[in-house]
Symmetry: C2
Subunit: 255 residues, 2 copies
DNA sequence: TGCGAGCTTTCCGTAGTATGGAAAGGTATT
DNA sequence: AATACCTTTCCATACTACGGAAAGCTCGCA
């Protein structure tokens, strides 16, 4: 968890501290943080003071521990609002869950990962896979494959060449040529499935939300445990997901 | 919207840019942002480049406009998780709304304001007052008065002395002595009401969430339009709100 | 087509701020 | 009482951030 790319500018160092702080929900001390970041303690302390002055960091005066501040919550909500994660997407996703009886997930492309932005719980009490704000792999999930397949050509090519095809489930596609074919098929058929590619015992079907300019804005998926959901039952949810995606395509702001 | 307190350090300047960017959901150009912030254009541009490198800012290559990046969403969700806004509070609040048939709001103290962190819509289709991530006044709302009344003594005193008692509704308390009495009463009776103090036509009742150490963690409220909700009907929701607050008192992390 | 206004981006010598080792001041543990 | 480890502050120096200026860009207009 050490700092590899040594940021030379003060702003970069401060931002890295924020990211590191995000990994400590219960707060950390200055020296621990300095060790993690690879900065001198005094530098770390000074940067934290600056971050705190503007509400990006808060410190408990008692325990001398630092954590993320409310300003980040505020700005995070702004992003959620501006990108339509909160107001617009939620009702549409709830409708999908009402029809499928399963959870509905939404994610967007964020560099070489997907970022889960929202989920709606289903009536079944199952563990949720994608917590909002967490990152997940692109190469072995239904949503991830959609995001690649419908990304702008240069981005798609770049991802196809550089993604690490790490095996995470029993059926993960690890061969680059086969993966390229898979993405092409997803692009052709307009949806993707993941049959225990991400995790043993989990299946999912996903669709892209393709905006007016033809670029992918987000993707939606329905996951379900493999033991009670054969693949053809899962693909039966496709019309419903496609409807929702088409609706979101015009509702979501085009970035 | 110009820069009053001239930040002298680079980090402070960068953070201010983030806050300013938050006011432009659809993106903004460098020179406009530089004007708003009061920085030279070149400085602004360099800072934006740093912010973008770490995902705190994103720019549309086409339109040359900058906006808040996904990293802020990610970190905002971490805050939401760490403070229990998302996982813990939501079900409790939904239960309150199920019982009252009205929306339920939650806010926390953030300097001289309250920060709305969550709301649950009621069945009635009414305009929501507190959008999550937005700030609201302390002196003329039920939740705000609870946050003051149950804050640590020094904080309470500081707020009582310095808050601007701006009249925002027909019944806003603008006299400092009377306001001090009002806060004392709230502290005695354990809840607060706001009868068109914040906005004409809106009533609310609110309770504090008082943590194990006796400090206020958050506050909950039930707002309703005045025309169909007499004050005594609103206070009838108090047992339900108090129950919820007591439950949250042990569930929310003590900061 | 050429011009000008206003934008974004890059450059680079200098000014001045960030740097970090060291010391001071805490707090818990032995 | 002594030790260890932490947080916070200090300050002379080095080096990074600064910002004016210039280059490169797009657009609108004559």
């Amino acid at each position: 968890m050490a700092a590899q790319p040594v940021e030379s500018d003060a702003v970069g160092k401060a931002l890295r501290l924020l990211v590191l702080l995000g990994e400590h929900p219960d707060g950390v001390g200055v020296s621990r943080l300095a060790r993690d970041a690879g900065y001198p303690v005094s530098t770390t302390h000074r940067l934290l003071t600056s971050l705190q002055r503007d509400g990006f960091v808060r410190s408990d005066r008692e325990s001398r521990r630092y954590g993320l501040g409310l300003r980040l919550f505020e700005l995070g909500q702004r992003v959620s609002q501006a990108r339509g994660f909160a107001g617009v997407a939620l009702p549409v996703m709830q409708r999908v869950t009402a029809q499928t009886g399963e959870p509905t997930l939404m994610s967007v492309l964020d560099g070489p990962h997907q970022l889960y932005v929202h989920h709606v719980q289903g009536p079944h009490q199952i563990r949720v896979i994608g917590e909002p704000g967490k990152h997940g792999p692109l190469h072995c999930t239904a949503m991830g494959k959609c995001l690649i397949a419908f990304a702008p050509a240069e981005v798609r090519e770049q991802l196809l060449e550089s993604l690490a095809l790490e095996p995470l489930g029993p059926n993960t596609i690890t061969d680059r040529a086969r993966f390229r074919e898979e993405v092409a098929r997803v692009r052709d058929q307009g949806y993707a499935v993941s049959d225990e590619e991400h995790e043993s015992g989990i299946r999912a079907v996903g669709v892209p939300v393709v905006g007016p300019q033809g670029i992918v804005l987000a993707s939606l998926s329905t996951p379900a445990p493999a033991y009670r959901m054969p693949m053809d039952e899962l693909t039966a949810f496709l019309p419903c997901l496609v409807d929702a995606a088409r609706e979101l395509a015009v509702l979501l702001p085009t970035p």
